[in-house]
Symmetry: C2
């Protein structure tokens, strides 16, 4: 058995723990986690982005999903850790494993900072028949991890009103009104993007997410002290002074766990149990009332204000110019240079680096050639890097953070010959993308009402893609944010937190695809900004503005498969792209773009 596991098992024995669970999450449920939080990786050697472990006195198991079966098998080889392939027939999930392996009265432990309060309640419920004791205030991996990396502590900076559109004072006042209406004395916010948005601060503590490791306890009364828990070294005097003006005081990041123990009895705090971690919630005494509520900040943040909406148009022009230049470069040079997937990533970085207001990529660029395109979450690295030859598709999924907002787009680019089947599939994906962007709908619709539009051309051909059609996108924040989305499956329990009514100012991606294993992948992604359309006797109509400004791949379109409405939509989009970005292009680029976008 791997040394780290043996050490954990020794510690478990000392602490009378029968089963110890290790998650992949940080203390905030972030999509990406810093090195400090990579307990599961340290313990198992498995480096994938999803996976959980259970260690018992004589066993260690790791649960991960289909994306990682091959990688996990390789990385766990020789470790003595058993791989549980989630979703495969006959493979128990973690709860089934615990239910059948734990004995009456035994103890299950985990670091309660890495598990949401709602998840812990669910575990308790599932194990309730067995009188299992849950211990949530231990960090056994931390105990044995000698050279554990430091937590990230990048400098916090403020986002100016020109970009944020609203001051933190205004945002806080709006939030306080919501708290008052809900008869709450305060709110405990643990989601990093919510804190960053509310306070108009940004940092770099999480890869691709420009946020700071922090917690915020905001009192409803402006006469009481509120606290931001954060690494004090990350906060300049200037920012601290500004926060103090709002009666928000800075305390050390870890102090929240003691602070919540002394919240005033009788008070009522709102928090989102599906986000707040177990230790934050359970450290609160029973004399303080906790109101479980979908975070109002999540909703406020998702509805971009006028300045944010205007800025997003600017960032998408900047990024559209960059990506379009890249596509031209690729098309021009692929036949006379050795260009690899990574070269494309680096070239895009080079082009973007010259753009004022560009900050960083909003996620790791996917540059996937040929068969790699069929791997939905493929990300090239030095080992996998593939030379782009003169046939087939390159799938390029890239986004950037700008002061004017966050972009995310995907284009599938033919780099030479493609088959008629490829054209056929490309065109079906294109139709879905264009038609969804053209939706006009009554206010009150959710993504689940519209998802079919994007899938229809594929479903009619007996094809599908096994991911959502779209996710919400933050403003210079997480590229994946809730509560808006396009997904056809309706989860009634989470409809308002994951498939909210589409409001003016929400940004959602529109990204249907087709993935033919071992052959190629196609995905076409634009960001759509929801805006108001006409209001009449029947009510308020809504529609989308397409933010993304990058041409589709003319050579990959089978024009005969487009009906007249589709052709109209394609031509209108292409003419808009040309109008909007051509003046930022060099002469040869513009010539090429003119041809790419001319009427079909």
């Amino acid at each position: 058995m791997r040394k780290q596991i043996l050490e954990i098992q020794k510690r478990m024995k000392e602490e009378n723990i029968d089963a110890y669970m290790v998650m992949t999450d940080d203390f905030h449920g972030s999509e990406y986690v810093g090195d400090y939080f990579k307990c599961r990786e340290y313990l198992s050697g498995f480096t994938g982005s999803a996976g959980r472990m259970i260690i018992t006195a004589d066993e260690a198991g790791l649960w991960t999903d289909g994306r990682y079966f091959i990688q996990a098998e390789a990385e766990l080889s020789g470790s003595g850790i058993k791989l549980y392939k989630m979703g495969e027939q006959g493979v128990p999930d973690i709860m089934q494993y615990l239910s059948s392996n734990m004995l009456e009265g035994q103890t299950l432990a985990f670091d309660g900072r890495t598990v949401s309060a709602a998840a812990t309640s669910n575990i308790e419920k599932r194990l309730s028949g067995k009188n299992i004791k849950i211990v949530y205030d231990v960090d056994l991996v931390g105990d044995i991890w000698d050279d554990r990396p430091e937590r990230n502590c990048t400098g916090i900076w403020q986002l100016g009103i020109k970009y944020a559109g609203k001051s933190r004072e205004e945002k806080i006042e709006e939030l306080r009104n919501i708290l008052k209406n809900n008869k709450s004395d305060g709110i405990i916010i643990t989601a990093l993007d919510e804190i960053a948005w509310l306070l108009n601060i940004r940092a770099n503590d999480i890869d691709y997410n420009p946020v700071a490791l922090s917690y915020l306890i905001l009192e409803t009364s402006e006469d009481e002290n509120s606290y931001l828990f954060v690494n004090k070294n990350a906060v300049s005097d200037e920012i601290e002074n500004e926060l103090n003006k709002c009666r928000i005081f800075v305390r050390e990041y870890d102090e929240i766990y003691d602070y919540v123990k002394v919240l005033e009895p009788g008070k009522c705090y709102m928090t989102d149990m599906s986000k707040a971690n177990t230790m934050v919630v359970r450290n609160i005494t029973s004399e303080v009332k906790i109101k479980n509520f979908i975070s109002p900040v999540m909703q406020m943040k998702a509805v971009k204000n006028k300045a944010e909406m205007d800025n997003e148009r600017i960032s998408h022009i900047k990024d559209g110019v960059a990506v379009t230049k890249l596509i031209y470069w690729l098309k021009k040079n692929v036949n006379n240079m050795n260009i690899t997937e990574m070269d494309v990533v680096n070239k895009l970085d080079d082009i973007r680096r010259d753009i004022d207001s560009y900050i960083e990529p909003s996620f790791a660029t996917i540059s996937a050639y040929g068969t790699n395109g069929a791997i939905v979450h493929y990300e090239p690295d030095e080992d996998s890097d593939k030379l782009i030859t003169k046939d087939g598709f390159l799938l390029l999924d890239a986004g950037g953070h700008y002061l004017e907002g966050t972009t995310d787009m995907t284009r599938t680019i033919s780099v030479g010959n493609i088959s008629s089947e490829m054209k056929n599939h490309y065109t079906a994906v294109l139709k879905g993308n264009l038609r969804l962007a053209d939706a006009k709908f009554m206010y009150g619709c959710r993504g689940a009402n519209l998802d079919y539009i994007a899938r229809e051309p594929l479903w009619k051909m007996g094809l599908d893609f096994k991911h959502g059609t779209g996710h919400g996108v933050g403003y210079l924040l997480n590229v994946h944010e809730s509560p808006n989305s396009f997904r056809w499956k309706i989860n009634p329990m989470q409809i308002n937190s994951q498939d909210a009514v589409l409001e003016e100012g929400m940004i959602t991606s529109d990204e249907p695809g087709v993935y033919i294993e071992g052959k190629y992948g196609i995905r076409l992604e634009n960001l759509l900004m929801c805006v108001k359309d006409e209001k009449n006797y029947y009510g308020q109509f809504m529609r989308f503005d397409v933010l993304t400004m990058v041409p589709f791949d003319r050579e990959s379109i089978d024009v005969s498969a487009l009906n007249q409405d589709d052709r109209y939509l394609l031509n209108a989009y292409h003419s808009k792209v040309y109008e909007t970005i051509s003046s930022y292009m060099e002469e040869d680029e513009r010539e090429w773009l003119k041809n790419e976008t001319k009427e079909i």
Copy 2:
């Protein structure tokens, strides 16, 4: 004040009742109610199909919705009853009225047989602050109503296995398995169509719903006695014997209220609180456990079996021939005969009467000419009956019950000149109808995922229709049944009972429309049967079979507004209609049909 109200107020005083509520419902929440149940009409004089009353010591109010404001004002004139126009600004709803008018400790009473148990719980919750006493076992209207009509008691007959597809024994066994899996000792069924479906019986106690007034308490154990509560006179010896073979014994209709009082303590019964009336549920002692559950019979009934599916195709051919003949007759004669809306209704009755296996209309035929077409729930009678002249649209919404199932279709028929706006609107409705019928989707989709398809052509023009796109349809049962539907609004609390996952064998109407007040109405309705399409790597695909076999109105279509896909769908449908029904037509009808359905 109207005499009946004064009598009720006198009785209220005697019984110490401060507010008395009168509903429109029968004891089963039926869509149509027999004369015996028309307490609200007796009390108020208002004859509409929706409305509730509250009587207090010095007031009487009637609440109804926008469909009935004009009618209610006229019918209530001089009665002293105040009309509360539901949905108008500043008008309190019934609960708001009670909350603000009832005093601490007062008593609210109603006939608990006419209010669902769930609704009563809701009333209690809303009034909980005021310590209001709820009395549900009085029927004050019944007390004062001297010449109250008898309850309907039509003969019960059995639906043969050829039509039902499954014996009652098979159905009961399936239901018992569900009850076992849910650890219930029995089920209390109060919905009339559920009882009729489960026992393969039909009757005529409710207008248009071929069911018998009854309740059923089925024990999970086949060794215990189950009971059907029904007017014994309606049950022949033969049927009673057959029911007894399943250990189902017949008791008088009203006996259920005493029977539930003596259910065996410790037992657990499943019932659907949103359907079971308050008196049935509250008469059960607290030693018996009641499990509130969406009725499994509703789901079983909605998923038509193979025989039902095959039969439905037959009933729709029969009804399609009848309606197509009627349309031909109308088109041929409208210019040289005086034909009124009622004449059309009567002519359809005449044609159908000759069809073997035809039983009765499945709802009151809507034959609405010109401006009447814009009134969504218009039903012609002697007073409103309008002569059909040679311009504009006749909207015909008609359905029939056959041994082979229930039909429901709407056609909008031009009887002469129509404007280009009318053509334009007709064509948009047609596109919505055709495209929804052509949907192909992954198993798991609900109506809310598909509703947009039918509305899109209208929404894009800034139009809408203020009703669902589609409702479930029973098999020789209620023409409106749950749980399947096409509606875009998602109610997460009732998604499985009102917008269930579409299963093979479910029948749902597809009926978009446009209603231009004071001008005309357009609605086009086909019934769609959900069937399986291909199953492949991506999963199980589903699609619809169009059951309805009636041509669309060729003259009303603006061909230039159809894209090539729409034209393909229209031609395919028309060619199917011709193939399927032309051999049942007379020579001149067939000639006409050939022209109506020829390729566009």
